[in-house]
Amino acid sequence: MTVHYTVLPTVSMERLDGETIVIDFESGRFYSFRESAADLLWLISLGIAFELFESVIRKYFSVHESTDLSEDIGSFIETILSLNLIEMALLVDEIGSAPIANVELPEDYLRGDWVSPLLVSNDELADLLKIDPIHDVTESGWPESPRN
C-alpha cells in the first residue's frame, strides 16, 4: 500500500511561473504557494506516491545536510491537509507511482538550494476578492485597494 494525496474537487489549483494559486471554494479562502511549495503541490497533482517525494526533491534541489527534508515535506503536507485542500488515499497497486526518472518538475523558475515550503494565505476574502484585479489595486499593490 502506498500513500497518495489528491486535491479535493472543490479546490482549484493552477500553476504559473513557479507560483501555484489554490482556491478553496468551500471555505472561500485562497492561497499562494511559491517555488518549493508549488513543487510539492505539483507532485500531489500528478498523483506521485508520497514515499517518492523526497527523492524527486533531491534530484532538483541542493539540500543542506543539516536540513531534515523529510520533516519539511511532512510538515507541509500536514498543513495543507489541515486546510482541507487535499486528502489522503491509500493505494494498493503502483498506479501513480511513476519511476523517479520520469517525474519532472516544471522548468518555470530557477531552482537552487532547498528552502522550506511556505504558503501565503488571505482570509479576508470578502474584501480582497471584490477587488477588480486590474483597475482597483493601488500603486502599493494587492491586496490594497483604493476602496479600502
Partner: protein, 367 residues
C-alpha cells in the same frame, strides 16, 4: 437539451455588478454597453429576455439603488434585477473577483444552466510588467474562478484563444472567438487642403499602449521637416508618470501635440475629421477597438504588427514594427497612400449578432 425557442421567454442573465459600479465606459464597459443595447430588443423578438443579474459573494451594496443611479446601462438598468437562480443562462462579461463563482457552479450543475464567460485577454499573466503590482496574481485568481464556474468561454481574438491554450493548465471549456468592432457609424474621410499629417490615437495612457513610440515618431517627422500634429485622447492609466511628464513637458504640447483626457463619441468624430491617420502602436491588446473605430471615422490606421492586429488585416489598415523610426516611416508612407473606398469595418452590431447566435446555440443545447 435546452429550452425550445417556441417556449415562453428564456431568461438570460447578464452579470452586471462591476459594470453597474463603473463611472467611465472603458473598453470592456463599452463592449457590455453595446451588447445589451444591441441584443435586448432583438432577443425579445426571439423569445429571449436579457436581464440584469447580480451574483456576488459578499456585498453590502444594494444593487437596485446602484442601477437607479448608474452612469452606464441606460434603459437596460430600468429592468428589475433577476436572481441567477431564475435564469436559464448566465453571461459573465467582465473581470470581477467579487462574483460568487462557486454558487454559479452549483447552479450550473443542479439546473444545467450554461455559464458563458468573456475572457477579453490574459495579458496580466503574460506581461505582468504592464500592470500594477500583483495584477498578475489577482488576474489569475479571477481566471481560475471563471474556469471553475464557466461552461463556455468567449474571447475576442484568435490570439487570446491561442494564449489560453498555451497555459500549462487543463481548460476543458470550448473557447469561441468573436471579433469586436466599431461602435461608431462609418463617416467619409475629410479631404485636407494642406499636406499636413494629422495623427490621432484614442487609448488609455499605459506603458504598453505605445504613446512613447508616437512621441518618438512625431519628433523624427518634425526633424525631417514634415508638417505634423498629434492628438492623444485617453484617460491616464497606471505606471505612466514619466510618460505623462514627457507629454506635458514636450515643447509642442498645447500646439502641435494635444492630449484630451476624455471625450464623447461626438468629440471623437470631430477630432477624427481633423485627422488623417489613426495609430495603434500597442505592444499588446485584448482587441484594440481603435483600429475599427479609426477606420470607421475615415482614418487610415497604422497598427503594430502583433498577432491580435494582424488577424484583422483589412483595407486602409497598415502595419508597422514597434519602434519610433519604423512608425515615422510608416506614417510618411501611409500619408501618401490613397484611401480605399467601398469597404466598411466590422461593427459592434456584427459582434453582438455573432455573440447572440453563439449564446442561442449554447442555451438551446445545439453547441
Amino acid at each position: 437539451m435546452g429550452p425550445s425557442m417556441s417556449d415562453s421567454y428564456v431568461t438570460v442573465g447578464l452579470e452586471i455588478s462591476n459594470y453597474a459600479l463603473s463611472k467611465v465606459a472603458t473598453g470592456v464597459q463599452q463592449v457590455i454597453s453595446s451588447f445589451h443595447n444591441d441584443l435586448e430588443l432583438y432577443w425579445r423578438s426571439r423569445g429571449i429576455d436579457l436581464v440584469p443579474t447580480v451574483c456576488q459573494k459578499v456585498s453590502n451594496t444594494d444593487f437596485n439603488d446602484v442601477l437607479a443611479s448608474a452612469s452606464l446601462g441606460g434603459d437596460f438598468f430600468k429592468k428589475n434585477i433577476v436572481n441567477p437562480e431564475d435564469c436559464q443562462a448566465i453571461i459573465l462579461p467582465d473581470i470581477d473577483n467579487g462574483i460568487d463563482f462557486h454558487k454559479l457552479k452549483m447552479l450550473s450543475n443542479a439546473k444545467d444552466i450554461p455559464v458563458v464567460a468573456f475572457v477579453h485577454d490574459i495579458l496580466p499573466l503574460l506581461h505582468p510588467e504592464w500592470f500594477p503590482v500583483d495584477g498578475k496574481r489577482n488576474f489569475q485568481i479571477w481566471l481560475q474562478q471563471t474556469l471553475h464556474a464557466a461552461s463556455h468561454l468567449v474571447v475576442t481574438t484568435h490570439k487570446t484563444r491561442s494564449d489560453l491554450n498555451k497555459l500549462p493548465w487543463e481548460i476543458g471549456q470550448k473557447v469561441s472567438v468573436v471579433h469586436l468592432g466599431s461602435r461608431l457609424e462609418a463617416q467619409v474621410p475629410e479631404k485636407f487642403l494642406t499636406n499636413q499629417i494629422s495623427v490621432l490615437y484614442v487609448s488609455t495612457i499605459e506603458p504598453r499602449k505605445g504613446h512613447d513610440l508616437i512621441l518618438e515618431a512625431f519628433d523624427l517627422l518634425r526633424s525631417w521637416g514634415y508638417d505634423v500634429v498629434v492628438t492623444f485622447v485617453g484617460h491616464r492609466g497606471w505606471k505612466i508618470d514619466d510618460l505623462i511628464d514627457q507629454i506635458r513637458n514636450h515643447p509642442e504640447f498645447g500646439s502641435r501635440l494635444k492630449w484630451f483626457e476624455g471625450g464623447s463619441d461626438d468629440v471623437l468624430r470631430k477630432l477624427a475629421l481633423q485627422a488623417n491617420i489613426g495609430v495603434m502602436p500597442s505592444r499588446g491588446e485584448g482587441f484594440g477597438m481603435f483600429i475599427e473605430e479609426g477606420l470607421a471615422m475615415g482614418l487610415k490606421v497604422i497598427a503594430s504588427e502583433i498577432p491580435e492586429f494582424l488577424e484583422r488585416a483589412q483595407p486602409n489598415l497598415f502595419f508597422s514594427q514597434l519602434d519610433g523610426l519604423a512608425l515615422a516611416k510608416s506614417i510618411m508612407r501611409v500619408h501618401e497612400t490613397p484611401w480605399r473606398d467601398g469597404f466598411s469595418p466590422r461593427t459592434m452590431r456584427d459582434f453582438s449578432f455573432e455573440s447572440s447566435k453563439l449564446i442561442e446555440s449554447i442555451v438551446l443545447g445545439d453547441d
